[in-house]
């Protein structure tokens, strides 16, 4: 019986179908959660997909965070439930304060649709435990105009100290990209941060699209293990086992 994973659908989410498809490939049973509903239908984990929720008017993600489903997601997260935000979903999580930091306009001020490489900073989280050891770069697309990760220095230092940096943009060899390296860190994210965890380790956000790198025919299947990690962790959570990485990095 595949584990049920919810995908929130805001009006204007345009990656929900892609995410539902990715979940199927990863062995999960995708469940669409309409933004107006106040319950999560008993899913074992939730994904906030990419897109332009509410057209991203005002600020990316800011209107979406006030929808009824987000209240349910916030409660779910507070309870230790697993939540993953992808691209616009990451922006929504940041606006809602469920993950630290903010996503600003890309350094070059332009929307960017292209491939990047990211590497996981730690493999002991519900979102990365299925990745191969060795930190090999994972190739997958970005598609955003506001993906520049920002937090003040104190916050960034704390994130690094607490092991809350989940993914960074890297070059072909896996080395961390510089902030002004337009080729490897196209949006100019501080400290090349591509994805983060909350302090409790059950909520994560990343700007690149693992669901678009889930089949080799589409160019890369290196994003699938991220989704698969989530599905497996959710299955364990549903079975009553303790989720990984509620332990801070040592």
């Amino acid at each position: 019986m595949p584990v049920r994973i919810g995908v929130v659908v805001f009006p204007g989410s345009n990656c929900d179908r892609d995410t539902l498809h990715g979940l199927e490939l990863a062995g999960g049973e995708p469940v669409a959660l309409w933004h107006e509903q106040a319950t999560l239908d008993g899913v074992a984990a939730v994904i906030l997909p990419g897109g332009f929720a509410y057209g991203d008017y005002l600020r990316a993600g800011v209107i979406a965070r006030f929808s009824p489903v987000m209240r349910a997601v916030e409660a779910f997260a507070a309870d230790g439930g697993l939540v993953l935000g992808i691209c616009n979903g990451f922006q929504v999580l940041a606006e809602a304060g469920l993950v630290p930091g903010a996503l600003l306009r890309n350094r070059g001020l332009r929307f960017l649709g292209r491939d990047v490489r990211i590497a996981a900073e730690r493999l002991d989280t519900p979102f990365t435990h299925g990745l191969a050891a060795g930190g090999a770069p994972l190739r997958m697309p970005i598609a955003h105009g506001e993906g520049c990760y920002y937090a003040d220095d104190a916050t960034l230092d704390a994130l690094e100290a607490e092991g809350q940096v989940l993914f960074r943009y890297v070059d072909e060899e896996g080395g961390q990209a510089a902030e002004d390296d337009r080729e490897h860190n196209p949006n100019g994210s501080l400290r090349a941060i591509a994805g983060v965890l909350n302090a409790a380790g059950n909520v994560a956000g990343l700007m690149p699209h693992p669901e678009r790198a889930s089949e080799s025919i589409l160019g890369s299947d290196e994003g699938l293990p991220i989704i698969r990690s989530l599905v497996e962790s959710a299955a364990r959570a549903a079975a009553g086992e303790r989720p990984l990485a509620l332990v801070a990095a040592s």
Partner: protein
């Protein structure tokens, strides 16, 4: 736009242009209108409706007679010209919907919104048929890239295409970007969209069933585009532009996304009898077209239309081009469900009229009848003009405008290094990498993109099957300016060739015909010749034209644009795993050239760069040869004999090899036997030629297959190394270059890094994009 009151008799006279002329109708047209109204004079509202529907853009009044000569029948064609989009069956109960359309004049006025609403409009044409849009291709043409105004237009248009497509969640996966001086006063923005549907969901834009409800849903109706597409597109640009300016339409891609979901749900649940999107001509167009197709009439109640602003005049409501609106024909018992769907998706919805059996479009308000026009008079029985075509007097093969006409000492045989010419071509704005543009588009949303922008054709897999759709757009204006028939035929040849060399079978052709003022005999001749070329090529290749768009009056005080038939082709590949790309694959692979070069440098990128001589002529196209080359390509790929396939087009053989090398990250060493000048051999753009690579083991079989298809074939060399080396070998007994009086070596030898450097930066440098 203001409508002047007719002068009262007896008042001091100041000549006032009659209303119909202010609205862009000629005296003849007014007479023709009266005839269709049984002799009576139309009132103001009716005149406004006629002015929109009889505009060139809506009525095709100058081009209809020509379009009737195109081949439109073909196996599997389920919907053809006259419908919102062409639809062709692809098996398994599925069909592909596709079409290309222009939004030229609005983009010149407000580039971002013009391009954005162009994308919105073509998408609506796709999903109104019941197809979920899966891809967009944009063909953009501008003047001098160093010019400030051009840069403003490029930035705005690219921003608008991306801004709309990205937000609505449909990937932009291909297209063209072409710079030519003739577009300086008239940019061209042609957008193609493709969608997939289950054939049983095919929905037509007809209004059957008197008594059925006419339902408007989507955005509210405001004053957008009053006098927009119709008046704007039916007049050439002049300095009296300012008066046209307030008519800008603003697009809302977020609303369009909701509209797509609501429309497809309505269709899939069988809740509508007909569906039509609102574009040019607004409610007037949607109601008259659907009624005419069904042989019915529609009565519209102005008071029921959800308005964005108070106090709109009846004519404003009827011709408004507010975006993101759809018109559905709904059985009364289904209305509650239809309303529920629209409301759930957050879209205003209202019953705005009823289908009748009187064949008229009737407009009412407050119970009073304000207008009554037979639907056919607005659409299928609109006036048709028989324009005069006259070929220009001097029709010799003259060099393209802007190209130096004298013999130039920059030709290779006069001392220029062919390697330097290649780098100059790769770095030229029309051939350089377009990455800086297409990275502003989301090309991977939808998880169906197998091959995105940057190559000759885009490939979209069809989920749940092993099949994929292949799409390309191409348009040859450089040849067309001198020989519009040849230019159009070459455009079809190139677009279909780009599809065939992936291994896909072209299914059909859509076309956007961008030409000048049809009341000018020479411009109309160009259109006539262009349609003839399009028809000849499609017939020779056995492909139906499934629909498209005509954009006329593309002229400014600076002159007319070069005739630009923008061709869109969709093909089908049964097994996406067998897909072949243009990049070199493995070191050691054999490189073969199939087809042969013919002389004719006119219209080539090389000619634009290095000039031409009086001996140079136009290229020639043998459609039988073209069909054979494409058939060979598909056959060879089918047999597993091909590693990569690249067509020879812009920049000729040298550029084709350079691209294949850069994309594959590996060089090549080839020897090219030639009996013509190095310029023609290396950079000539004669059509019907492809470069294919295969394993050494398969090379003899591949060459044999080419000959069996009746094609000339040469094995040029092999893939490998980190340089591109091309050696020309004369076919005389010694072959030495000195024999031909040349003073330079016949070798082109350039490292990949140099090729990449020129190619990577050419466009950003030309446009002054810092990056």
């Amino acid at each position: 736009m203001t409508i002047a009151e007719p002068e009262a008799v007896g008042e001091p006279a100041e000549p006032v242009e009659p209303l119909h002329r202010q609205l862009g109708l000629t005296d003849d047209e007014l007479e023709a209108i009266r005839e269709r109204l049984a002799g009576r004079q139309p009132n103001e509202l009716e005149l406004a409706m006629f002015s929109v529907m009889w505009s060139e853009h809506c009525s095709y009044k100058s081009s209809k007679p020509l379009l009737g000569t195109l081949p439109t029948a073909g196996a599997g064609v389920v919907a053809g010209p006259g419908e919102n989009a062409g639809v062709i069956s692809i098996g398994d109960g599925l069909a592909v919907a596709f079409k290309i359309e222009s939004h030229n004049h609005p983009s010149a006025v407000e580039p971002y919104q013009g391009a954005a609403t162009g994308v919105g409009g073509i998408l609506r044409d796709i999903f109104t048929m019941g197809a979920r849009p899966i891809a967009v291709l944009d063909a953009l043409r501008f003047g001098d890239p160093a010019d400030v105004r051009t840069r403003h237009l490029v930035d705005g248009v690219v921003g608008g295409v991306g801004g709309y497509g990205n937000c609505v969640g449909i990937p932009t996966v291909g297209g063209e970007l072409v710079f030519d001086p003739s577009y300086q006063g008239n940019p061209l923005v042609n957008v193609m969209a493709i969608g997939v549907l289950e054939e049983r969901h095919l929905t037509r834009a007809a209004a059957p069933g008197p008594g059925n409800l006419v339902v408007l849903f989507g955005s509210t109706t405001g004053r957008d585009g009053i006098g927009g597409a119709s008046v704007l597109a039916s007049a050439t640009f002049s300095d009296a532009d300012a008066s046209k300016r307030p008519s800008v339409q603003v697009g809302d891609p977020f609303a369009e996304k909701l509209l797509i979901e609501a429309s497809l749900e309505l269709i899939e649940r069988g809740l509508v009898e007909g569906l039509q999107d609102l574009g040019a001509g607004g409610i007037t167009c949607a109601t008259s077209e659907t009624a005419d197709r069904a042989g019915t009439g529609i009565t519209v109640d102005l008071d029921a239309i959800p308005l964005r602003e108070p106090g709109m005049a009846p004519f404003e409501v009827m011709i408004s081009e507010s975006q993101e609106r759809m018109c559905a024909i709904v059985r009364p018992d289904r209305w509650p469900d239809v309303r529920e769907v629209a409301e759930r998706w957050g879209l205003p919805v209202a019953v705005i009229g009823r289908v009748t059996d009187d064949g008229d479009i009737t407009v009412t308000s407050g119970g009073a009848e304000l207008a009554r026009i037979p639907a056919a008079a607005l659409t299928s029985d609109a006036i048709v003009h028989q324009r005069v075509a006259r070929a220009p007097e001097h029709r010799r093969a003259a060099p393209a405008p802007g190209a130096p006409t004298g013999a130039s000492d920059r030709l290779p045989e006069r001392g220029m290094d062919p390697g330097a010419v290649l780098l100059a071509l790769l770095g030229s704005p029309n051939l350089a990498s377009r990455r800086s543009v297409f990275e502003r588009y989301d090309s991977t949303v939808g998880t169906d993109t197998v091959v995105g922008p940057g190559h000759g054709a885009a490939v979209m897999r069809i989920k749940g099957t092993s099949r994929a759709l292949v799409a390309a757009t191409d348009g040859n204006q450089a040849v067309g300016v001198l020989d519009p028939h040849l230019g159009a035929a070459m455009s079809v040849a190139e677009a279909t060739r780009n599809v065939s060399i992936t291994g896909a079978r072209p299914l059909g052709v859509t076309n956007c015909l961008n030409y000048g003022d049809p009341t000018r005999p020479e411009a109309f001749w160009q259109l006539t010749e262009g349609v003839r070329g399009l028809a000849d090529a499609c017939r020779a290749l056995g492909l139906p034209v499934t629909g498209g768009n005509v954009s006329l009056y593309n002229e400014s005080p600076a002159g007319s644009i070069a005739p630009t038939p923008e061709i869109g082709v969709v093909g089908l590949i049964d097994d996406v795993a067998a897909l072949v790309g243009p990049a070199f694959v493995t070191d050691g692979d054999a490189i073969l050239l199939v087809g042969e070069a013919t002389s004719g440098l006119i219209g080539s990128s090389y000619a634009a760069l290095a000039g031409t001589t009086v001996e140079d002529g136009l290229p020639s196209l043998d459609l039988v040869r073209e069909a054979a080359v494409q058939g060979f390509a598909r056959d060879a790929i089918d047999r597993g004999l091909v590693e990569s396939a690249q067509d020879v087009s812009g920049g000729g053989l040298a550029v084709a090899l350079a691209e294949a090398a850069m994309w594959g990250g590996r060089g090549a060493a080839v020897r090219v036997p030639t009996s013509m000048s190095p310029a023609v051999e290396l950079f000539g753009e004669s059509p019907s030629r492809i470069v294919v690579t295969t394993t050494q083991r398969h090379a003899p079989a591949l060459a044999l297959l080419a000959r069996q298809h009746g094609l000339p074939v040469e094995t040029l060399g092999s893939v490998g190394g980190d340089r591109l080396q091309i050696q020309l070998v004369g076919t005389s007994s010694t072959g030495a270059s000195e024999e031909r009086g040349s003073t330079i070596a016949d070798v082109l030898d350039v490292p990949l890094t140099a090729l990449r450097h020129a190619w990577d930066h050419g466009l950003t440098r030309a446009l002054g994009w810092g990056n």
